[in-house]
């Protein structure tokens, strides 16, 4: 159950990526699934830095990768502000180009790329984002 802590800065994204890609490969995922996990985690961490912490350099991101049976479970923890994902509207990518607003793709992608995406807030231990990817999918 490897765990690593990274400073919540955009610079860390590449190192976080290397960390989860390694885990996904060890879990026996094919390259398409490895990329899916990689991208979902990048979007999640990007959001933690930008939205939970409200900017760079205000805390850490703790990342844990669990391989079990056919699953890879990624747990991301931060100490930023809590987040209720149900408050976020789905993006509208059917809109004409001119009307597109540059937001809402991250969460949407995470849900498409992973089989489970769950946000929890624990007073004391902070935000816990758990994402699961099944090997079959």
């Amino acid at each position: 159950m490897p765990t690593a802590k990274f400073p919540a800065r955009f610079e860390s994204l590449e190192k976080i990526s290397q960390f989860v890609v390694k885990a996904a490969r060890e879990a026996g995922f094919d390259e398409a699934a490895v990329y899916a996990v990689d991208l979902a985690v990048d979007e999640a961490c990007s959001n933690i830095i930008e939205h939970a912490y409200g900017g760079e350099g205000r805390g850490d991101i703790k990342c844990t990768c669990q391989i079990a049976n056919n699953n890879l479970k990624i747990i991301l923890r931060d100490q930023g502000r809590p987040f209720n994902p149900s408050s976020v509207a789905e993006p509208n990518f059917g809109a004409p180009l001119e009307e597109l607003k540059p937001r809402g793709a991250g969460l949407f992608l995470m849900r498409k790329l992973m089989d489970e995406v769950d946000f929890e807030f624990e007073a004391g231990s902070g935000n816990v984002l758990t994402m699961v990817k099944h090997r079959s999918k």
């Binding site: 955009f10 610079e11 994204l13 590449e14 990526s17 390259e31 398409a32 990329y35 899916a36 990689d38 991208l39 990048d42 979007e43 990007s46 830095i49 930008e50 993006p91 990518f93 059917g94 180009l97 001119e98 597109l100 540059p102 793709a105 991250g106 949407f108 992608l109 498409k112 790329l113």
Partner: protein, 111 residues
């Protein structure tokens, strides 16, 4: 990430290498802004060496596409996009905003 630009008679080719994420997307944005700032709105984005692209990167391209298509003065097209990146582009639903070429010459030759 490194970025290089080649200028042709009708268009510029902007080639990025490596990872486009929240950390590097601002750099890509700067380069594309300087291309459009120079009055070039026909742009090929060469992704043949891009091996990771997050939504932040796509948004930079979408904003550039808006500028390019305004007044019908041009377009941003994509070349060399790797399969898995293309899948994520379609997955997020932005695929329809970009013409995609498998061949750089065809992309440049489309302008």
């Amino acid at each position: 990430m490194e970025i290089s630009t080649s200028s042709y008679k009708r268009c510029d080719v902007v080639k990025a290498n490596g990872r486009v994420d929240s950390y590097t997307a601002p750099e890509l944005e700067e380069v594309l802004n300087s291309v459009t700032g120079n009055g070039t709105y026909k742009i090929v984005f060469d992704m043949s060496n891009v091996d990771f692209m997050s939504s932040k990167g796509w948004w930079v391209l979408i904003e550039t596409q808006k500028k390019c298509k305004r007044y019908n003065r041009g377009e941003l097209v994509l070349y060399g996009i790797q399969d898995r990146i293309r899948e994520s582009l379609d997955l997020v639903g932005m695929g329809s905003y970009f013409k995609i070429f498998d061949d750089l010459t065809a992309a440049v030759g489309s302008f």
